[in-house]
Amino acid sequence: MTEPLLDRVRRVAADVLETSADKITLDSSPETIETWDSVHHLNLVLALEQEFDLQFEPEEIDQMKDVRHVLEILGSKVQQV
């Protein structure tokens, strides 16, 4: 499967945040997406963990302030695998 990282993140985020993938951009954050509250943030983290088969460190979860940071963290972890 060669689905780009960004597309996979957008697909998962769209499901969890109850919106469509085209509304998710690199700048999307709890400020720009209404449904992105703390419960949804945890759900997003868990959904990404399952999608990419990995576990985030607490520090990494704290840093996921927007989609750009999610991608950065994921990028570094997926490369390590």
Binding site: R11, D15, E18, L42, N43, A47, Q50, Q55, E57
Partner: protein, 629 residues
């Protein structure tokens, strides 16, 4: 189909208003992915579809000592796919004791149908979890007693305030015991202490109606304790379970919700070739098929063992196979590797007709709705054909590897039961007797001769502790001969039996072919000069043999002796209870009132004697000795 395409397909079906197709596509998507993101999608789409689907509403409360919020969408998605519209209430963090003990807590205001108490060893037995190595044998014993006492207080407190079902998580073992190898030696043992608490919990649940244990320790062990937890998330967000395991806990919860909501299969229809044995009997012959204790035939014996377990749980087995009948029967009767034999099957269709037609016939023969059938077949094409032609049938998805068949059967939540009555354990034999009756019916010339030759004996008894589970079970599963289709939990039946004027009776029927067991329930309420039949139902396997008349006659006689002038009862029509429609009118009742829900029928007790059929020997057990209070 990848996950984006699957989502597009669902949305396409929704936009064309094909809600059945959309709900099936959502079920497939959920079965395939089962992830938090899929859950969120499935829940959103089902919420759009809700008005067009017939889903069963159910209310579940969760009392917890850890974060369960991420499990709620997973659970609701799984429930939607099973036909249940689940509303979930989650208690405040660690507020479960108040939620249980306070009569007007938010939990009780929510009016749950069932409640899960999900607490962990480290929360309710912290000294055993954290400091086991510091405890003396006596201290550990005291600790076990305290924790068992806490559970007992919570369960009893819950029962004082609610009639809902209660599912209690038992306590998990640590991955490694704190005293290492010493834990298995005489003296203080952490694991033994937890085992003892869990044993107490089992006894506690056994002593209370509607209280069940979820074996959380076994669940973790089954999937691997060492990878079950995510300690980082426990410490940071109080979520102790790793992401891939969230859905495993949800699946375990669903195992309870299936029997609680009646989403169960009453019969399992099985294929023969490559399902009950390896190979094709018509080609490989008796010596060629693989079935025995050695590999690879062992896989099929494992399947048969699983089926025997279901049979003993009261689930009927039937055969549906494309074969020459004689070949197949020879294997069933004579193959030394067979664990099942002909007497285990309540119906057989061994022919070349298509399977959905055979399944319809089997349902009719067993007096079941098609939606009560499950279907087991190794051939994905047959499964697809049945799925398309009969979407109500629960089709078990078998993996390609026969060594995994057994697990697929045992995992199926449609076969879960929370109580097993004596009737369930004998159900297979009961259906065999039914065969003999039908043959007799065809031989004798008149209906009356048939009734007489059956030599029926009926025993009517008031509610007892021993019959409570069966009575509640019948109110929940009887659809056809059921005048009002009112469902009650065990707790509700026990409770209304203590109200003034209310009575609950059951009827057992025996005849020359065997004991049918407890097959009918009547609940009545006396109000002045009128006795109203709140519930009247009979298992359809005894209907048409005049036992129902004997039961109604008893109710009339009892009402009369208590001074009632009138016996009345509603017929509330449903999709399934047409067999009961004319019951009151054929017994002399007249229609007194009609509204959108149904018809109220009434019988003048002075003018109508309503005699019991003389060919039934009737025994009435004392109306007072067996009261449940």
């Amino acid at each position: 189909m990848n996950s984006s395409e699957a989502r597009h397909e669902v949305d396409l079906l929704i936009s064309t208003e094909d809600s059945t197709g959309a709900s099936r596509a959502l079920g497939d998507l959920w079965a395939h992915e089962g992830s938090p993101s899929a859950a969120s999608f499935v829940v959103q789409r089902f919420e759009q579809l809700r008005p067009t689907l017939k889903l069963q509403p159910y209310r579940l409360g969760i009392l917890r000592s850890f974060t369960v919020e991420p499990m709620v969408p997973l659970l609701r998605a799984a429930a939607f796919c099973a036909g249940i519209d689940l509303t979930v209430y989650v208690s405040d963090f660690n507020a479960y004791v108040q939620a249980i003990t306070e009569q007007d807590s938010a939990l009780y205001k929510f009016r749950p149908d069932a409640v899960i108490l999900a607490v962990q060893t480290r929360d309710v037995a912290p000294e055993i979890w954290n400091h086991a190595s510091a405890l003396s044998v006596e201290q550990a014993r005291a600790s076990v007693a305290r924790v068992a006492g806490d559970f007992s207080d919570w369960v009893q407190g819950f029962r004082r305030n609610s009639t809902a079902h209660l599912i209690v998580h038992n306590l998990e073992q640590p991955v490694l015991p704190s005293r290492g190898l010493l834990d298995t030696q005489p003296g203080m043992s952490q694991s033994a202490a937890i085992v003892q608490i869990n044993a107490e919990l089992r006894n506690l649940a056994g002593s209370q109606v509607g209280v069940y244990v979820l074996d959380y320790d076994a669940l973790g062990a089954r999937h691997g304790r060492s990878t079950w937890h995510d300690e980082r998330k426990w410490v940071t967000v109080r979520l102790p379970i790793a992401a891939p395991n969230l859905n495993r806990l949800v699946t375990e919860w669903m195992r309870f919700l299936h029997p609680l909501t009646g989403k169960v299969a009453k019969a399992l229809v099985v294929d023969l070739d490559n399902t009950l044995w390896g190979g094709v009997i018509g080609e490989d012959g008796m010596t060629g098929i693989r079935l025995g204790s050695e590999y690879p035939g062992s896989a099929y014996q494992a399947v048969q063992r699983a089926l025997l377990d279901l049979y003993r749980r009261g689930i009927l087995l039937a055969v549906c196979s494309k074969n020459n009948r004689d070949d197949a029967l020879e294997a069933i009767d004579k193959h030394p590797g067979m664990l099942l034999n002909r007497s285990h099957f309540a119906a057989m269709r061994i022919n070349w007709t298509d399977k959905s037609q055979n399944l319809r016939e089997i349902a009719a023969e067993l007096n079941l709705g098609v939606d009560s059938l499950a279907f087991l077949d190794d051939n994905p094409i047959e499964r697809q054909q049945v799925r398309t032609a009969l979407p109500e049938v629960f089709v078990i998805d078998l993996p390609a590897d026969p060594m995994k068949f057994e697990t697929a059967i045992r995992e199926c939540p449609m076969f879960e039961r929370l109580t097993v009555s004596a009737e369930d354990e004998q159900r297979g034999a009961i259906y065999q007797a039914q065969h003999a009756r039908e043959q007799l019916e065809q031989r004798v010339s008149s209906r009356e001769d048939f009734y007489r030759s059956l030599q029926q004996e009926a025993e009517i008894a008031p509610l007892t502790k021993a019959s409570l589970a069966r009575i509640a079970q019948l109110t929940n599963k009887t659809n056809q001969f059921n005048l009002t289709t009112r469902r009650y939990t065990e707790q509700q039946v026990a409770e209304l039996n203590t109200k003034p004027g209310w009575e609950c009776f059951s009827i057992r029927v025996r005849d020359r072919f065997g004991d049918n067991g407890l097959v009918g329930v009547a609940i009545t309420r006396r109000d002045g000069d009128t006795t109203e039949i709140e519930t009247f139902l009979m298992s359809c396997r005894v209907i048409g043999r005049t036992v129902e008349t004997a039961f109604l006659s008893f109710l009339a006689g009892r009402a009369r002796s208590q001074g009632a002038q009138r016996l009345q009862g509603w017929f509330l029509p449903t999709k399934k209870n047409a067999p009961a429609r004319d019951f009151y009118s054929t017994h002399g009742f007249t229609s007194a009132h009609q509204n959108g829900d149904g018809t109220l029928w009434t019988l003048d007790l002075a003018a109508n004697s309503l005699p019991a059929p003389e060919w039934i020997r009737l025994r009435i057990l004392n109306g007072d000795e067996g009261r449940n209070d």
